[in-house]
């Protein structure tokens, strides 16, 4: 099977997954105990006119599959309903919070690239020496530390204690400034939550960079290059790292989910107005339309991220078998 066929099959495979997610998300409302009208309308808006309007929109009297279809048609057109608590369109809220989350993720990914790739490569080159063991141990810590606690500790040390010692915190204890307002203030605020989020991700990436590099460095062409007298640094970086990059990039893509899990708690700890915090607030408010919208959106992003990674991987690596 050629690449085009593989790509087509892979793209088509996302359809049942997305449909499945949408069915699950739709059924969330049905699982919630109580009258859906009460779950979707705040008490002060439960006037007969609003209730009738909502019932008509949801098609409540109709069979479940008709209701689902109506909801899906709206969702596909970008209409995810109105937030129960915030009284604004869900799509608008998500788009507004998307950018702050993206900023944190970018800093986290940058942290991961700067820390994880050099340490991962070093670990592989000096495999089973103290360098490797030390890196491995540090990476274990990075994976095992809960992001929310790390965030609290970072605030405690670099903002609160630092403030006590030197009169002014090294970093603010949280909050958000738009980069368009003041780039410097923004950078000052994004750095701590971004790195906090990046720690676990870096550790994960370092471990996977190491194993990818170890595998590549065992390949025959590396031996061939060495036997031809190519300098070791050139062998490692040019021949080794270049080839290990494919699995590393893949892994970065696959673990975006890990990053998003972290961003929920990190945004909460640092009062960062991103999607994670929006989801948390919507859960506290039992704001079902917003919960539904965010899950659908996030799942959609991940399905497409995985799709992109798979397609790229298959495209870049000619050895892969399309099955």
């Amino acid at each position: 099977m050629g690449y085009a066929n593989y790509a087509l099959k892979r793209v088509l495979l996302t359809i049942p997954v997305l449909l499945g997610v949408s069915i699950g998300v739709f059924l969330l409302v049905k699982l919630t105990p109580g009258d859906p009208v009460n779950t979707l309308l705040p008490p002060n808006q439960r006037t007969p006119a609003r209730i009738a309007q909502l019932e008509a929109r949801l098609g409540l009297g109709q069979p479940l599959y008709v209701q689902y279809w109506r909801w899906l048609v709206h969702a596909v057109q970008g209409d995810l309903g109105r937030s129960y608590a915030l009284q604004r369109p869900v799509t608008e809220l998500i788009l507004e919070r998307l950018w702050p989350t993206a900023q944190l993720s970018l800093v986290a990914i940058l942290t991961a690239l700067l820390i994880a790739i050099p340490t991962g490569v070093l670990s592989a080159v000096y495999k089973d020496t103290w360098v490797d063991h030390a890196n491995r141990f540090v990476a274990f810590f990075g994976i095992s530390v809960p992001a929310f606690w790390l965030g609290i500790m970072v605030i405690m040390v670099f903002s609160l204690f630092w403030g006590n010692w030197f009169g002014d915190g090294l970093i603010p204890a949280g909050g958000y400034v738009k980069p368009s307002q003041s780039l410097l203030d923004w950078a000052h605020r994004v750095i701590a939550p971004g790195i906090t989020l990046g720690v676990g991700y870096s550790a994960l990436t370092a471990r996977l960079t190491r194993s990818a590099m170890v595998e590549v460095l065992n390949e025959e062409y590396i031996e061939t290059a060495r036997s031809k007298g190519v300098r070791e640094s050139v062998v490692v970086l040019l021949h080794g790292f270049r080839n290990a990059l494919i699995p590393i990039v893949t892994v970065l893509g696959i673990h975006i989910g890990f990053l998003f899990n972290g961003s929920i708690v990190v945004e909460q700890v640092f009062q960062w107005p991103g999607i994670g915090r929006l989801l948390y607030q919507s859960v506290l408010n039992k704001d079902l339309p917003l919960i539904q919208g965010i899950i659908l959106f996030v799942a959609g992003v991940f399905v497409f991220a995985n799709l992109t990674v798979d397609l790229l991987y298959a495209y870049l690596d000619p050895r892969i078998k399309y099955d």
């Binding site: 049942p16 499945g20 089973d128 141990f137 274990f140 500790m153 405690m156 899990n261 899950i295 991940f302």
Partner: protein, 300 residues
Amino acid sequence: MTEQHHDGRHGDGRLSVLRRALALYGRLDTGAQLSLWIVVGVITMAIAAPVLAPYDPAAQDYEASLSGPSMEHPLGTDLTGRDILSRLIFGTRASLKVGLVAVGMAIAVGVPLGSFAGYVGGWTDEVIMRAMDVVISIPALVLGLAIVGTLGAGLINVIAVVAIVYSPQYARLIRGSVLSEKEEEYVTAAENTGLRDTSILVKHILPNAMTPVLVQATYHVATAIILEASLSFLGLGVQPPTPTWGVMISSGRQYLPAEWWISTFPGLAIMVTVLAFNILGDGLRDEFDPRSVTGQEGGA
């Protein structure tokens, strides 16, 4: 239909399991051995919490309110004067319940689904595995928040969350193993002797496919503990007054930085426990998966 020839070993079965476990322990590297002891220690704490804890975890002592680490309270006290060390020891219970019970449930759901899908193949396989893809496509904590947000907070729901979130990974893992084992000669031989599909699956294929499941489970216990702590920290997990590490961290936040011990120690407890499960998982993987064995000098 039961096959008797396996029972020949049953006489010294227990002994050989113990002997094999000891041999396995001997082959683990120092880090993994140490981690195993930490895991055993944490499990002991959970079981023997009432004996080990110096105080009742719920006992309030307003005179000792917010006192720092001392001989009397080695890890200090919280606002109502409850002993942090005792709450930490009792907190192992919630973490391990979620870690062990929920991951066990994930295996109990995922393994039958995945092996069935892999063995039967065809449309059944497609439907089951696409359903698993749906669950995997949503990040764990997002799914957790959605489920807990809909069904309500509490230990049972957190366990349900973990079981739902992780079961697809076991289904995928075991399906892959079943697919490759299916081609092995011994399976064909068993089929030729007229054994039924289910007994081939249960007696021959699954035992061979369970090792990666065990390794995966060790890692999952680690991430499940973090997931539980995160949900508890957000106020959506196990509810107070039950002592849990996540709730302890969150309740101590408002007393930072002066009363730093309230949030710091439970976080360290999570980190050490999770670290132990992760290192143990790596040790087991190195032991069972020959591709990743680092060589004879590979001890840490």
